[in-house]
Structure formats: C-alpha cells, structure tokens
Amino acid sequence: MADSPPAQALSSALQNPFEDPLRFERRLEPVALVIFGANGDLTMRKLLPALYRLAYERRLPAGFAVIGNSRTSLTDEAFRQKMYESVKQFLEDSAFDEDLWVEFAKKLHYIAGDLNDPACYEAIKAKLAQVDQDHATGGNILYYLSTQPSYYAPVIEQLGAAGLAPKSANPFGSGYRRLVIEKPFGHDLDTSRALNEVVQRVFPEQDVYRIDHYLGKETVQNVFAFRFGNGIFEPLWDRRYVNHVQITAAESIGVGGRGAFYQETGALRDMIQGHLLQIMATVAMEPSAVFEPNAVRDERAKLLRSIRIMKDSDVLENAVPGQYGPARIGGEEIKGFRQEDKVTPQAQTDTFASATFFVDNWRWAGVPFYIRSGKRLPKRVTEIAIQFNEAPHSVFSGEPLGSFGGRPNMLILRIQPEEGISLRFLSKQPGTGMRLRPVSMDFNYGTSFGARTPTAYETLLVDVMAGDSTLYTRQDMVEASWQVVKPIMNVWGNTKFDFPNYEAGSWGPRAAEEMLGRHGHQWRTP
C-alpha cells in the first residue's frame, strides 16, 4: 500500500533527524558554484539576482560559495560591488535586503583569467580548495558556462585537463561535479554533435545540465500538473478532440544592441529550435509512468523524434520566415531590422519564424501544430492555444457564432505575462431566445496563488543543486530538435527572401496567415 502523505513526511524525516519536509524548503547539499563569464549580461541580469533571491528565501545551502571568472581583472571586493549593483537593478518582483546582502556577499569570490590558459584553472582549483575550507562546501562543485558559446568546448577540455571534472580524481574528497551549459547547444546539428563529443569526454551525461530557461517557467511546469494531475483533460488530449494547436512566443522589442549576434542566429534557431519545440513536446508528450527526470525526458524526447521532418520541397509551404521593417508605433519611429546597429543592410535574418509541424504518432496523427515567434510584434506574450473540434452536431445551427465559427472551444495556457489558463466555451446570452455567446473561464496564477512566482533561473538553479534534471534538456532531445529544423534552415539558407516582409508592430508576414489558411485555420490574436 502506498504511504499516505504524513507517513511519507515522517519517512523522509528519518534521513536527517531534523528534517521537516512539510515546512522546510527542499534540502540542498553544500556546493561551490563556478561561473565562467561572471562579468557578462546573463550573470548580472539573471544568475546573481536568482542566487540572491534564493538566499533571501533561505533556499541556498549553508555551505555555499560562488567563484566568478572572466578575463577582466577584479578583486573579490570589486566583483562583489559589481554584483551588488546588478542584483539591486535586476532583482525581479522582490525586495532588496542590505543586511542579507552583507552575508551573501561574503560568499562571492572572483578569479580573473584567460579561459584558454591552463593557469586560470590552476587558480580556480586553488580558490576551490580555499572556499571548501572557508565555506564548508563539502567538495561539491557546479560549473556554469555563461560565456560565449565558442568557449564551451575549450573550458570543458581545460576542466578535464586540470583534474577538475568528474572523470578526474577529486582533490576535495567525494563531492559531485556538475556542468550547466546555456543554449545554444551548437549552431546546427553537426556543431551540436561536435560540442557533445567534447562534453562526453569529460563529463558523464548524468552530470550535464543543458539549460532551457523556458522549461523552468512555472507555467510551463504547470502544463504537467494540468495534464497529468487532472482526470478530465487528458481524455480530450488527442486527434479525436483537438483540431489544432498554436504556440506563440511574441516579443514587442527589437534586437536592440544584439544585432550582430542576432543576425547570425534568427528566430528559428533562437526560439523555435531552442525553446518552442521543447514546449510543444511538453504539451504533446505521453504521460510518463513516474515524475522522475529520465522518465519525463524520455517521453519528451520520444515526442520530438515523432515530429515529421519536412521534405525540402515542403518547406516553403509549411515554414514562413519574416523580417521586420520600419514603422511608426505610438508616435515613435521604429527602425527596421536592417537599420539596427551592427546589422548588414542586406541581412536575410529571420526575425520572425513560423512553421506547421505534424506529429506522426497515434495520438496526434493529422493534427497541425503551428508555431510562431518573432520580434517587434504587437506585444510580449507566450501562450499555447489548443483548439478543440466543433460539436458533432449543432442543435443551434441557426444561431450566429461570430468569428469563432463552429469551433468555440479553445483552451489557452498562458505562459507569460498574466500567467494562467482560460477555457472558452459558448453560453446562452441572457434574455429570450437561444442566442449563444462565447465566454471565458479564467484561472489566473496571480489571483489564485498570491505568492511570488520564482523566476525560471531560481527554479533551475535549485534543481541542478538538487541533482534534478527533469526540466533540463538532454542531448538526444537537442539533436532531435535540430533534426526538425534542419531542412527549414537549409531551404531558408538557400533562398533569397524579399525582406522586410512585415511592419514592426504587426503580427508578422501575410504568408504566415496564408500558411494556416491552407488548412482552414487562422492565427488567434493573443
């Protein structure tokens, strides 16, 4: 017989005589976190604010230290001051406590060094020994690659050569060695495989955590709870009831100062391969037998492998790129992509990408999954919309149903902002006669759970410290998603598009609308 929750709580409490799983946060082993690229944007905007917030919520282990590394010469004090300023500036939805900072800052250390120079790793090794002594980090080390992607392979190789990786003898006792890699995991399938070869030589797969911050978002995790925690939705979750699925990730901003980087990347690589296919897999995967890292990731990987790979001849019908042109929005003149800083005037970069995918399995055969993502769209929004089929026979056939046609039922999982879930259905309009009107039943995270939602990086940092890789991607998943976008990249790369093809502030090119129109569908306006 399964243990009841109180019995489970008591049994877990036996591991540490003082444990109280109902009241205490998940216990984390002591650890030293080494951040490569500690002077960069990601560290300052996301990682340190997330770590500080975890300290604020007392979720960091008592034995904890950070060793930041970058090329810039800084003392520990200067590094702390820099992080102080960035945490204060970028802390999301949270108060800043000066007293707490004083204690937190004592755990921050810094080593300057060239990532290609073995001496840098010797210095890191010495610093690790020191923080292990001073902060009782228990010999556990977490490496975080927050550098430019071109440094990933050299850093991993140098860690191996310096005896700092799991496959080396551990100079600090019996701690773990884990590696967190930020996306992109390669620039295409081949470079992804090449990077993985380097990783696998030095770190075993179970110690590698490939971060996709979208999967760390509470609302993406809630897809699991919604689908597999309730009995009423999953029976409708297949080709018999679902007409099609739309996944939208829109940004209202342009490329800003990242023009040079973005010109080489584009929306297909940056968003669809990097994030949205993972979200699609979460929406469409089969339930795993248990909610454990590899069980969940196996199902997600299976789904990614079931996505039909487009033939080159089908690409232009089923995948539409776009690039924003100049426009005037709210009285402000907005530059087109080609006018942005460090962007070449003839750039063929896709600032918008949309595609129609099909999943070749029994559950989803014939159901289109439409995915779109773009910059300079009317607003920032990420959502999944599941359009259900019409009723098999309408007894209200004489009644007008407005723009919803005969398919009034739609489930919308809002990832950001206004996180929540809406279900649209028809209701009788008050008054005489049977007039129907679509209404929406809303669940809003903010109103049902007033508590602050942790940022994706807070969630993912706690998970990696706990050794939980459920929300991290695995190499087979990365390769499967590169396989899916490969033909699109090939065809788009060999086609000269007439860019720009959408105005900044619009919902993308007309061809993206036509793509859905061919299936009798239309993009919803979020």
């Binding site: 929750p5 109180p6 019995a7 709580a9 008591l10 409490a13 540490n16 005589p17 003082f18 444990e19 109280d20 109902l22 009241r23 205490f24 946060e25 216990r27 984390l28 082993e29 002591p30 007392r58 282990p61 008592a62 034995g63 406590d97 007293d99 707490l100 204690e103 902060h135 009782a136 228990g138 206004e418 809303d442 809003n444 903010g446 109103t447 049902s448 759970f449 007033g450 508590a451």
Partner: protein, 320 residues
C-alpha cells in the same frame, strides 16, 4: 431579539460584486477579478483590529474572510455586513477583490452564529479558523464549527494562559481536528537552521553522539516557543533537553537566545546575535544567517501552506 440570515449577507455580497462590475464598465477598467481560494473564519474579541493582517493575507491567499467579532454589549447584538477587499496588482489594469463578511455578536447571541456561518462558506474550498484570541476557545458555541475546519489556528505565545491554550490544542488534536499554533511557526527558521547544519556530513557525523542539549531563552517565564524547540530537538534525537533562562545585559525583543548541542569532541551552537541575525558554529566553521522579520500574517501564511495534518508538529505538541 437580534437575528441575522446568511442568505441576506450573501445577497449583500452579490450586490457588492454587481456594483463593482458596474463601476468597471463605467470607468472602462475591465471590472474586477473575484478571487477566492479558501474560507477563513477569524474570531476576535472586542474592538481589536485585524484589518492590516487580513489585507496582507488576502493578497497572498485570496479567501472569503468571515470576521466574527465577539463583543460585550448592553443588549443582545447579532449583526453583519459584506464588503470587498480590492487591490490593484502592480502592472495590471484590473483590480483583484476578495470578499469579506463581518459579523458582530455579543456573548449571549454567540450560540446563533454557527448556523449563520455554516451558510456563508464558499463551497468546495478549505475552511480555516483562526482564533485571534485563544481565550475564545472557552466558548462551547464554537464546538459545532470545529469539525468543519481543515485547520484551527491559535497563538499560544500571545494567549493569556499558554498552558490552557496548549491543553485545548492537545484536546482538539486528540479529537481528530487539524490544529496549528503560530508559536510553532515562529521557530521554523530555528528548526531549519538546525536541519541545515546537520545536512553537512561532517556535522552529521560529529552529532551522532549528542550527550547534552540546552535551549536558552530571555524571558523570565519559559515561552512556548522555547518549549516547542526543546521538545522537537529531544524528539528528533532522543536526548533530553535542558531549558535555561539567560539574563542579558539589556532587554531583547526575542525569546529564544541559543541552542547548544554537545557531544564528545563536538559542539554545535546557534546563537541569536541581534533581532534578525543568528550565528551558527560547529568545529571551526562559523556562518551567519539572517532570519526574516516575522509578522502575524507571515506566520499565518506558513500555516495555510500546511493544511493537511502536520505529523511533526502533532508529535511535539503531544509531548508538551
């Protein structure tokens, strides 16, 4: 004869929502979002204000709040009104509102309130009763409401007679009711610090043979919080605990001063340094921790997070 009907209060509540909806149409703000995740009955004595605490609570845990104010009056009184607590979340255009029903009863009409309150619960949602004044537990009229509650919360530390409050909690627990004590929530950070210390393998190894444990406090009478901490440590390790009074050179606002665990060649201490900071020491290791400022609302929120039975608390409560 004072009378009050649940239906009338619910109608008043419906009117409140209708008015708010109309205002939303008039000012084109999109109306308000009605939020309710729980029923919370708050029992208070006299004119004591709980508005600020409830405002904090409903922001974090939107609830249908029923305030029952028990107040001595010259003639029998039983009256009620319905209002909405609204707030505008940062960056949103739509107000969020939680509903609040205020009842006032004199001791001689108290027996009539349970039937009204039963008609006011929002259906399908958990029920929590918070006795702001633990002395109200003496009224037998509440006995019929207790079985409907997922949890009954008191604060033994602030009660006039902590011994009696603990005894009532123990009796309710024995009767099968879910109970909570804000005094227990007050020591969560202390307990978590002890657990965190013992996560470290070296400390866990050193602490295997603890021979003596001492909790010190700064109040002349032993506070419930110290007793809870001592019994929890004793129950966890199976070692008796000594509770001692610690005279400080100047008065301090806190109660628990330190926890000391001593074994052969091993000493671990957690010592309060100031209102927010504690120092943890074992072997040559020292670190400082910041304890968050506790308010009634943060303590209640912790109790709301544990609506199921809490076996560790129940075990410690039974030992007091």
């Amino acid at each position: 004869m004072a009378t009050l009907q649940a239906e009338k209060l619910l109608r008043d509540l419906a009117n409140v929502w209708e008015e708010l909806g109309k205002q939303g149409v008039e000012d084109k703000s999109g109306g308000v979002l009605r939020a309710c995740a729980m029923n919370l009955l708050v029992c208070v004595e006299g004119d004591v204000e709980v508005g600020e605490t409830l405002a904090d609570l409903v922001h974090e845990f939107p609830s249908r709040v029923i305030i029952l104010r028990v107040k001595k009056t010259s003639k029998p009184t039983l009256e009620g009104r319905a209002i909405a607590q609204c707030w505008m979340p940062f960056g949103r255009r739509q107000q969020i509102c939680a509903e609040q029903i205020e009842l006032m009863a004199s001791p001689d009409t108290l027996a009539d309130t349970p039937s009204v309150i039963r008609g006011l619960w929002a259906s399908e949602l958990p029920v929590v009763i918070w006795f702001r004044h633990a002395g109200l537990l003496r009224y037998p009229e509440f006995a019929t409401l207790l079985p409907m509650a997922h949890k009954v919360i008191v604060d033994s530390r602030d009660s006039e007679d902590p011994e009696e409050t603990i005894a009532r909690l123990q009796a309710m627990q024995k009767a099968g009711h879910g109970v909570g004590d804000l005094a227990w929530a007050r020591i969560t950070r202390w307990r978590e610090s002890v657990a965190q210390m013992f996560d470290h393998p070296a400390c866990a190894a050193g602490g295997r043979n603890i021979q003596s444990i001492t909790v010190t406090h700064t109040s002349l009478s032993t506070p419930t919080t110290s007793r809870y901490l001592a019994e929890w440590v004793a129950a966890s390790l199976g070692t008796p605990v000594t509770i001692e009074y610690k005279a400080l050179s100047r008065p301090r606002a806190w109660e628990i001063h330190s926890l000391e665990l001593r074994g052969e060649g091993f000493l671990a201490t957690i010592t309060r340094k100031d209102a927010n900071q504690v120092e943890i020491r074992w072997d040559s290791y020292t670190s400082a921790l910041i304890f968050p400022k506790l308010t009634t609302s943060t303590l209640l929120l912790e109790e709301f997070e544990v609506l199921d039975r809490d076996p560790i608390f129940e075990k410690v409560l039974a030992r007091l």
